[in-house]
Amino acid sequence: MIMASDIKESFFWSLFHSLGKKTMRVINDLGAAVIFFALAFLRIFRPKQFREIVQQVFYIGAKSSNIVMLIGLFTGMVLGLQLYYTLRKFGSEGFLGSVVALSLIRELGPVLTAIMITARAGSAMTAEIGILRISEQIDALYAMRIDPIRYLISPRIAASVISFPLLTAFFDLIGIIGGYLTGVVLLGVNKGAYFYRIDAYVDLTDIRGGFIKSLVFAVLVSTICCYQGYFTHLRTDSYGSKSVSLSTTSAVVLSCIMILISDYVITSFLM
């Protein structure tokens, strides 16, 4: 006869079992991803990488610049509007320039740029590498004695590390111009005060913080997206093209989560 205590026991057992299993899997994946990044990073400095890196910088960086600048412009414009009305309540709308610039440089610039690149280039990285994997093209590289990690992963990580800070800088700059358009041109904040306050309150520590964040996001996004694509064949929940689509979704979701978590951690360290 099944007793209520048995059910309770078995429920807790299976709960802990599944929790433990998931935790172990996450730890395993984390370890594997760290090793994967280390291997790829070391291979950046091997010969014949320059051309591949330049190609990837063009794809991840140059081709993402338009969308990043567009988002930057509207983010700055919205910030200009919102902050103007908030600051006016305290009679300090003259600080608009510095608040817009600090928000963008310290926080919004790196985060939104990283999320935008994840959506545009990160998902493409996962899908492309995943397709190469399921169609045996990665095996073909190995068979041709071309190290797949060197050829496919290292240039993407290097290109991300180069592109993320540059795009973040573009985002910040265009965002400040966006704030200027709404704050100064539309709502009549003093032009001189807008720029003077930026100059007075934004210092190198703020820029360095944003730069560090963008570097960390570059490493996280490129590693996660490449890792998901590279090991798409090891997924147990699906096969073939379905596994590529699920890997792409996982890569984007995981990248966004990691961007936000790491943003908090870095901010708390930089404070």
């Binding site: 190469l132 045996e136 093209q137 095996d139 073909a140 190995y142 068979a143 041709m144 004695r145 071309i146």
Partner: protein, 410 residues
Amino acid sequence: MKIPLIEFRDVTKRFDGNTVLDGANLNIYENEITTIIGKSGTGKSVLLKHIIGLLSPDEGGILFRGKPVNEMSKKEWDGCRAQISFMFQNNALFDSMTVFENIALPLRQTTNLKKKEIEKRVMSRLEQMELADVIHQYPSELSGGMQKRVAMARALVTDPSIVLFDEPTTGQDPIRKNMILSMIANYRKKFGFTAVLVSHDIPDVFFISDRILLLWEGNIAFQGTYEELTRLDHPMIDEFIRSIEGLKDELTGLLSKKMFRSRYDFVIDRGHADSIITAVLFGVHFDRLSDRLGSQTALEVLKTLGEYVNKYFGPLGGFSARHSRGRILTILPYLQPEEVERSVHDFAWEFQQKALPGITKGIQECFEIMVTAGITEAGPADDIEQIIEKASTKQKIIATYQCGKEDCSK
């Protein structure tokens, strides 16, 4: 004793508890074409992937020139891998690269050759594979046959000494299948590499193979020559060969060797046991033709010869099969030798006048096609190999066809 180039010792491989290779032992020798046959899903590709190192055995070991791979240093193993090339079953071409870029990739990435030298080597391979017109196209813009040739060009561009072909002829029509096999045989002759093939194209693949390995339930059930395979009376081999050989030879439309043998035994048993039958061995110089006019024309000649033999001698009660790449044996149980002589003469005239001009139309090079035939009598005690041997010694030219150009002899 000859040391095998590659040796498998008790290799076992499992996937999720499913044993694919179960203590497989095999030898692959240098400068030979070794063909691995076996039912679908028995682990032939898995076996090939072990050779290149894409998979490693769960148990047992692989030896390369007598040295265990797992005891080799990274540098040593890299040196071994540098000699091996792999042609994948699904081609594994990079679809975002053009044909030229696909073939140049291994040279660009693994050598320090100058740009000009890479271009020269790639173009030379492309021309050999008759792909020079499609260098700027993407793999998805090409037919399946062309994609196979691109994959083959990529596998051969680094001049490897060992080439592994995973079903190189899948999805090709009979002419293309034979063309690819001819290319492998020709390249082996020209560059002297070792080829390991996984193929189901019986009998064609047997004609170019030096050794056959039969993979059966995770083990190598047979390894030896084609002749040894045909002589071996084993129900498993019988079942397997019959299951994939079918009733007819795809290229020529003649009987398969198995069917030919059954028909011959039947004829011998049905009252011809004490009588003499006549056999004709037709032949074309396949390799010479292939070198001169390309394997496609050589195969067209062979295919047409088969069709004409069938059309001409079938109604006379004859039956035929291809016994090597360029030789067709016809048994004529109901005709006297002098009648056979007359029929062969008429056949030769028709083939020379009607068939050969059609095949060679549009060929620019100088050429001379010769068809030979050897007529022999055979008794009930003779087996097919003996008949072929006797007929081989009586070969005479029965039909020739030349391009007709004045300076041809130069």
